[in-house]
Structure formats: C-alpha cells, structure tokens
Symmetry: C2
Subunit: 335 residues, 2 copies
DNA sequence: TTGTACGCGTTATCAT
DNA sequence: ATGATAACGCGTACAA
C-alpha cells in the first residue's frame, strides 16, 4: 500500500500533480494523467482518508443516531441509508441513544469530534432540548431527522404520514363492518404515536362512530394485567375491531385475544402498523400499514447528501405516504 | 468550540503542555493541569479526532462488516459491540456485504483507508479468498471474526457452539419421545450450518436412531414446493420431530405444518435455533437454542480492543455455549 | 516541568 | 500544465 508520495517518487512528478489527477482531474494533461493512474495501480495506491479529511474538512462519513439498532424498523432504515450513501462513497457511523437524551447528546458530541459531514437522527423519547442544533449550525454540520423528530420549525425531516396511515387502518376496519373500535396507543410522548391516535379519532368521527378517550388504551406490558384490561373492555363494549399502534404490540394483542377464546378475524379484526417481517409470520397474518422503512432510509440519506453542499441551511420536509396491506387478521369472512 | 491552540492562547502555555494535560497527563504539575482543564471547560474544548488520528495513527474507530444489518441476529450482535466499544471511547462504522465477497473486500478497503483501528467481520456466504488477511497484517490492523468465519488457522474468532447446540436440540426432541426426526438445513456453504447438521447427525447416532442423508432437507423458499416436500416426507416417514436450522425458517415450517392439519406439539414437535424475539410471538412459541447474540457482540468487541495493543498477532478462539430454551412447540402433552 | 519544532498525508494557494 | 510550499490540528522527540 502506498500514498501520493510514493507515486510522486515513482513518476518523478510533484505531489500537487498527483493530487490533482486523483481529485479534480481537471487542469492536467491526458498524458501525465494516465502515467499517474498507471503508477497508482501498480503501487496499490490507497488514499489516506484521515489526512484528506483533516486537510479538506470533509470526512466522507455520515453519523446516524437511533434509539436501538436491534429494532427491525430502525435497522431497516439503516440498511436503506447505508446502501444509498455507500454508493456515493460515504461511510456510516452509528450510535444508539437507548432512549436517553444524555446518550443522544453524547453521540452528537462524538460525531462533531470525528468531523462527520452530516448527521441523521431519530430522537429518543426523552428528548426535549434541541439546543445542539445551534452548535451544529455553527459547525456547519447539516442534520436531518427521520421518523421521530422534534416539534420545532426550520429543520429537515423525513417522516411518515402517521396520521393518514392510522386513518386508513381505522377506515378499513370500519368498512369491514366494524362498529365498536378501540385503539391501542404507543408512547404518547412521541409525536408519531400522537398522530396515529389522532388519525384513529378522525376516522371514527368521519364515520360517525362514537369516540371517547376510553376507546384508547395503553398497554402495561404485563401480560396478566393487559389480558384483564382487554377482556373487560371487549366484553363491556362489544369490541369488534382493534387498531394497534405497531406490529409488535399487535402480535402481543393478537395472542392475548386468541387466549381469551376469540377468533380472528371472525370475532375481532386487527390492524397493526409498520409491516415488520414478523407480521406475516403469525397466524393469522396481520393486516398492517406499510411504513417503507428502507425507503425512508434512502430518502433521509439523499436529503443529507444534498444538504452537504448547501451554503445556506434550508428547511425540508418529506412525508412518506402509507400503504394499507390487507391480510387475514382484518378480512371479513364472506359466507 | 475550540482546539488546543485556543487553550494555549488563553492560558499562555505552550501547545505541548496543553496536549500533555489532555493526554498522558504525566510530567505536568498539578497547578498547570488544573489551569488547562479549567480553560478547556470554559472554552468548550473538543479534540479534533481526525487530527489526532492522523498524528497518532489511532482513529478510535472499529469497522464492522455483516451480511445484512437488518437481520435481527446481526443487529443484536452490533448492539452488543456498540455498547462495549462505546463505553471505551470507540465508535463503530458499519458496512454490509449482502453476501457478496466483492462488497466484502470493498468494505475492508474502505476501512483501511479510513484508518480503522480494528475490524470485526462475519463473512459472506460467497467468501473463499482470504488473502486480505495478509494486507491487514501488513497494516497492523487486527481482525476478529464472529459467528461466520473462514476455515483457516491463526485467526481470532468468536463463534457459537453450533454443533453442540444442534446436538442438544436433537437430543431434547428424542427425549420428548421423538423417533422419526428430520432436520431442515441452512446454507451448507457456511460452516456453522454444516456444524448444526453434524450435531443433528451425532445425536441421532448417539441415540441409535436411523440416520440417512434424506433425513436432512433444504428448503426451496417457495411455499408451494416446500409444502409438498414436507407433506411427502412427513407421511412417508412418520415424522414426529423436526429440528430447524434457524428460528425464521422454523416459523416458516411451523406455518406449513399447521396448514397441513398437524397439531403442534401433539403430532409434530419443533425446535429452532437462535432465540430471535419472534420465536415467542408465534403460536405455539417455539423452543430454540439461545445464541446470545449480544454476548457474542460484547466478546468480539472485547477481543478486538485487546488486540489493539498486541505487538505480535496471536490466534484466539472463544466458543459460546448454547442454552436450550424449551417452549410449547416441543413439549410433550402430559395426559 | 515546560517550550520548540517537526511531521502525520493530504489539499490548496501561489508561482512558474 | 506543473511545481514548491504552506496549512489542517495534534502528538512527541528533543532541547531548555
């Protein structure tokens, strides 16, 4: 392995010329160009990106912060990001916040110290202080939020239309004959779960189903308790349809419902959210809202790369639209 | 944000002294030390890791290559790695091989150019040329293989005892009264799937069950075909127990078997491999071999960090031992 | 104990 | 079109 110095030595040309061939490629004769490239090949030239980063200020590295990397939704997004930026010669560096705003801040600090060219982040549930945005602006490091974002202006964000996705899911349940619907909500500290709840409510009102706050439940993540709560609710209100905030919770609910002796979809119909691969592995396969995680990753990646050569930071918002996937869990059995 | 130059200016001390306080910390008086640290705090000092990396040759970055990041097993391993190295001040950079040896080589190249301090890799199914090891040795970049590794000597590896895990799974099925067992194999290009197959065979022989090559099936990943194959096999050979190479395939098989009208575990008992979170979400929950993905990540991380200050490369092998998790899918129903 | 000065491998500016 | 040289920010051998 060798550097430009070695090529200079071998060809008798100057460092500057070598560098020019390897970068701009302009202002240099075709002849010397090929000489340099041949020598580079022969010597197995490998640029030292650290040195280039120090000198140029561009590290060709994009930092990513997610709550948990081993969460199928986030790892699929990361997959999308990696593929897109990788194709463009960038590497990704990853940190996890584990839903802690302290760790999130720490990760951003690290990224700044590493001179990343841009940052992609899906914020933690705790996050409420976004003063780090000023610092990043000073350092001229663009940042793009994906999926989970702060509720403030003048940011770049790639999000999913959670509101409309929830609306579609609920509407579908109603069109399948549902009259008594409930919604199992996610963590309402996150705006996206609030949006899903709002979408549920909107569809209920649109179709003139009675809606009250007690049509929205939050799980305790304690099987015995949740079973009891669901049982009471279903019996008291004749629940026939449930829209659940996410596929994982949906499968959890599915199993509880089955254990209570109800048949799905005959007695109760279910729709989840996210289209995780597990959603087709259970019986019955669950209907869900496809959240196109990889697409989100790609769009976020594209957005951050475009931001790199912006002189003035602009705001940006892309909303990915939902797609309803109808599977067994919500199909009315035609007699 | 500022660098050591700013601190030097503010304190009137030399760059060297500042650097010493911030690094070695030795050979400097307590008084100036505190002066420097105070100034650093006041000025919001952030070391430029790129510059430090160029000068010292240590980037504080560990490169990771996995086939697919959105594979729960690998993302859990990465989680383990990230947590361990993060605690030690290292960052992780990730690339995917997508089972292509070309992309794998490319990723290694990139990592070398980025001056990563060490590399962790789980090789692709295609990989058969490991000449890059020489290059890394030259560059003094340690490499540790995890889970999937080349079958050569003098490497560092953190693997799982696939052979014994498969043996335990098979033994368990036999102890539950199984007499006619089959094994659904994974990609036999990978040594770990070969080991699982060998473990199955060994247990069969140990317990004097008739074993032949046709007791090992490979799936076509085509639902209609696989259904037919399984149906034939089960009927012809009175199959009562199936050991599947991994949890995902196991759930796939589970659904086929259920669709054929067999009851699990009454008619057929199943054991998977991996203990993915989905294994508890299906009905019945599937018994499996816990592969302790996070532990594997942590051990691999520990191993690579220890390798960093080795003068002479040594070989190393850690084998994580399996744990059988018995769930409904393999429980004999006591009458 | 502290300061001076050089070098890490590039890129960029200014000459030629 | 090409070359000489400074600079990026830090670490360290050497001098004081």
């Amino acid at each position: 392995m060798s550097g430009i110095k070695d090529i200079a030595k071998k060809t008798g040309l100057s460092l500057a010329t070598i560098s020019r061939v390897l970068n701009n490629s302009t202002l240099v004769s075709e002849k010397t160009k090929s000489i340099v490239l041949n020598a580079a090949q022969a010597l197995d030239y490998q640029p030292n990106l650290t040195a280039a980063a120090l000198r140029s200020g561009k590290s060709k590295i994009i930092g990513i912060i997610v709550p948990e990397i081993n969460n199928p939704f986030f790892s699929s997004i990361i997959n999308g990001i990696e593929q897109y930026v990788g194709k463009n010669g960038y590497s990704i560096i990853i940190a996890q916040s584990h839903e802690s705003k302290k760790k999130e801040r720490h990760a951003i600090q690290s990224f700044v110290k590493l001179n990343v060219d841009g940052i992609l982040v899906s914020i933690s549930k705790e996050s409420n202080d976004f003063s780090f945005l000023d610092k990043l602006k000073q350092e001229k490091i663009p940042i793009v939020f994906f999926d989970r974002k702060p509720q403030i202006d003048n940011i770049k964000e790639v999000v999913f239309d959670d509101y409309y996705g929830a609306f579609m899911a609920t509407e579908h349940l109603i069109q399948q004959g549902g009259n008594h619907l409930i919604h199992i909500a996610g963590d309402l500290n996150l705006s996206l779960y609030k949006d899903r709840k709002r979408g549920f409510q909107a569809a209920m009102e649109r179709y003139q189903k009675s809606y009250a706050e007690n049509h929205v439940l939050e799980l305790k993540k304690n099987s015995a308790q949740d079973t009891q709560i669901l049982k009471d609710h279903i019996q008291k209100n004749n629940v026939d349809s449930i829209f659940v905030n996410g596929d994982e919770d949906c499968i959890y609910v599915l199993n509880i419902i089955k254990s209570l002796g109800y048949k799905i979809p005959r007695d109760i119909r279910l729709v989840g959210f996210g289209n995780l691969s597990i959603s087709t592995l259970v019986q019955p396969p669950i209907s869900t809202i496809d959240q196109r995680a990889e697409d989100m990753g790609m769009v976020a990646a594209k957005t951050i790369l475009q931001s790199l050569d912006e002189k003035q930071p602009t705001s940006f918002k892309e909303v990915l639209s939902p797609k309803l996937l109808i599977r067994e869990s919500s199909k009315v059995i035609s007699s």
